[in-house]
């Protein structure tokens, strides 16, 4: 079940407070987080939708983090679902990944093994000798 327009508006307000942007990272509104990025997460984990919707149904006016905290205290499980959805939507976003220098869990060549520098670091350990009983 997709989010209703009303739920999306509330989600946008929450996302703006929880992910305002900073330290060289875009804010939720800059990347339209409450649109496609959130839908992508809910598509992968549909089980989150019900808990998220329940939480959003309690949201009226939220302007500050203390407002969010009050809602979170009322429904910690729902807040956990909200956090999972927002954080994953955010960090799966290519623009955010580019900003933090994260290519994802990429494949690399492992055949290089230990370098000469590594082996030099090991020398004192070898020189100290056995440590078993």
């Amino acid at each position: 079940m997709p989010l209703t327009p009303e739920e999306r508006t509330r989600l946008e307000a929450l996302a703006g407070i929880m992910l305002p942007g900073g330290a060289g990272m875009s804010g939720a509104s800059d990347v339209n987080l409450a649109q496609d990025p959130v839908d992508r997460v809910l598509h992968i984990e549909p089980a989150l939708t019900a808990r998220l919707s329940r939480f959003l149904s309690q949201v009226r006016v939220v302007r500050t983090m203390p407002d969010v905290e009050t809602l979170a205290q009322q429904d910690p499980q729902g807040f956990k679902a909200l956090g999972t959805v927002l954080a994953n939507a955010y960090f799966m976003h290519e623009e955010i990944r580019r900003q933090i220098g994260y290519p994802g869990q990429e494949a690399r060549d492992s055949s290089g093994g230990l370098t000469g520098q590594d082996l030099a670091l090991l020398r004192p350990v070898q020189e100290r000798g056995p440590i078993h009983r």
Partner: protein, 531 residues
């Protein structure tokens, strides 16, 4: 209802079941293996997909209660400080293990003699060494031979994986303190090996290897075992081990996914269902009760961690994960520290950005959000790594599992109920070790450190619940896993361990399984090869 007959029936298709089945098949015996889980193809794991951090909270979570797949049984851990973790499938928990491959140390087999605690094992490191070597060949262990923590240097069949920027940083700190470290050994091939791909350092080992690299029994053992005729039945949850009129084990009853019961008969039954599943099955079957030790002495390795953050980019999401380095500096007993035994350390990459989003310090629910989130990710992501600490958990009879009277699995079988407390010795041990790990981080140049004194979801290592020993009054099985009370019934998983060591146990579980099954093959001339 199906009736299958074979020489041997094995419960569980994880590492221990794989060793047992393959050796029996090589010896020409017919084998049926009953596994409640399924095959998992490499493509099913999410490591190479952007949602990797999302699905590890659900379908790839190590806690069966969170994962909640139909093939999992739930576990009541409300009376436990630690949650047992596992995975049901062909390959068992190894499908999601970190593949840290370490042998126990010689002292681990002699703790009563050396330290006056717990029990010595009925055999020594030297007795087990050839079996370690044997299983290491099959598990593509990569590492550097010559580790001074072992008398024989713990040789590895494959060269080590790179230690990367994280490993070098950690090593520099250890060298400044004059402390032991060694490149990590892992059941992860550093080059193509017997059908396994070379590791691509994706760093997602703990949620399954999507690159077909990590050594797991579905790749290392079951294909050959099946070629030799082993019948591996998946979706088969065993509800009971059966005995004949003489009290000898003669088979097992299993329930398929449609709830239908079947029977597998055999001259020998071997339990390889892990330190929780095996005692659960013994208790459900009402077997091996003479010593009263079934389910007791549960050891799960309480785990602490120290995360260090550095002022430079360490690319600390790069794998393997996997252990990059190990340290046995504080492994052996020094009674001036106020506890006996010790812990192994493993240096680990820190993973993706979400590892740094929550700074839950017991404050408000929203404290990890807002500007704090951006700040935390910017400061820590890619710049942090962990020294993880595996503390030796000494056996205590009160740490145990029983059968739940309230909770059942999807087939209506009683779930295990865990009763487990950390001992004072373990508390003191972890406090000492975390303090030293903070020093190691600072010596390496960390600008900030965070201590996690105990991770609740850390019951990766399940041991001790069907203990081996010579005396049937105080132990469940003999040194080869033969149940004292029940002819033809064997246990070949970590349940038999008299002590836990401070090491990841799979190397030892597989080596002990190999020792046990080869003894079984040699000593049981009555189970005639059927081919």
């Amino acid at each position: 209802m199906l009736e299958i007959r074979s020489d041997v029936v094995i419960v569980g298709a994880g590492p221990s079941g794989a060793v047992a089945a393959l050796e029996l098949a090589r010896a020409g015996m017919s084998v049926t293996v009953l596994e409640q889980g399924d095959w998992v193809a490499a493509e099913e794991f999410d490591g190479a997909r952007p949602e990797w951090e999302l699905t590890q909270l659900s379908k790839w979570h190590p806690n069966p209660n969170v994962r909640g797949r139909p093939e999992d049984y739930p576990i009541d851990a409300t009376d436990s400080e630690v949650n047992p973790l596992m995975f049901a499938g062909v390959g068992g928990a190894a499908l999601i293990y970190g593949a840290h491959w370490v042998r126990f140390m010689p002292s681990d087999f002699r703790v009563r003699t050396l330290d006056g605690v717990a029990d010595d094992w009925p055999f020594t490191y030297e007795d087990l060494a050839p079996f370690y070597e044997y299983v290491e060949e099959s598990m593509a262990v990569s590492g550097l031979s010559g580790n001074p923590a072992y008398p024989d240097g713990a040789p590895c069949p494959l060269p080590p994986l790179p230690i990367g920027k994280v490993g070098r940083k950690a090593a520099e700190g250890m060298n400044r303190l004059g402390w032991h470290w060694w490149p990590g050994s892992n059941a992860i091939p550093s080059r193509a090996y017997r059908g396994l791909q070379p590791c691509v350092l994706r760093g997602t080992c703990g949620t399954g290897c999507s690159d077909g690299a990590k050594a797991t029994p579905d790749r290392t053992h079951w294909p050959e075992a099946q070629k030799l005729g082993v019948r591996l039945v998946t979706g088969a949850r065993v509800s009971e081990v059966e005995t004949d009129a003489q009290g000898r084990a003669c088979g097992a009853v299993w329930i398929d996914r449609n709830g239908i019961r079947h029977r597998a008969q055999g001259d020998v039954v071997i339990l390889c269902a892990n330190g929780i599943g095996t005692p659960r099955l013994l208790l459900m079957s009402g077997l091996a009760g003479r010593s009263g030790m079934v389910g007791r002495r549960l050891m799960m390795h309480p785990y602490a961690g120290v995360m260090g953050t550095f002022d430079e980019d360490l690319e600390s999401w790069v794998g393997p994960a996997g252990q990059i380095l190990v340290s046995m500096q504080f492994y052996e007993t020094d009674t001036t520290r106020g506890f006996v035994r010790g812990a192994k350390w493993n240096c680990m990459p820190a993973g993706g950005p979400q590892s740094f989003r929550a700074g839950y310090t017991g404050g408000t629910l929203t404290e990890g959000w807002g500007p704090a989130l951006h700040d935390s990710v910017r400061r820590k992501f890619g710049r942090s790594f962990e020294w993880g600490i595996i503390g030796e958990d000494l056996p205590v009879a009160e740490n145990r599992l029983t059968l739940s009277e309230n909770l059942t699995d999807s087939d209506g079988l009683p779930a295990p109920e865990i009763h487990y407390r950390m001992s004072g010795n373990t508390h003191r041990m972890l406090a000492f070790h975390t303090a030293r790990a903070v020093e190691a981080m600072e010596a390496a140049g960390a600008i900030a450190t965070e201590v996690t004194p105990l991770i609740r979801d850390c019951g990766w290592h399940l041991m001790g619940t069907a203990v081996m020993g010579d005396d049937p009054e105080t132990s469940v099985v003999d040194q080869f896993g033969h149940v004292h009370d029940v002819p033809n019934l064997y246990v070949m998983d970590g349940s038999t361990f008299p002590t836990s060591s401070g090491m990841n146990p799979t190397a030892t579980i597989m080596a002990v399984a190999a020792r046990s099954v080869l003894d079984l093959i040699e000593s049981r001339g009555d189970i005639a090869p059927s081919r």
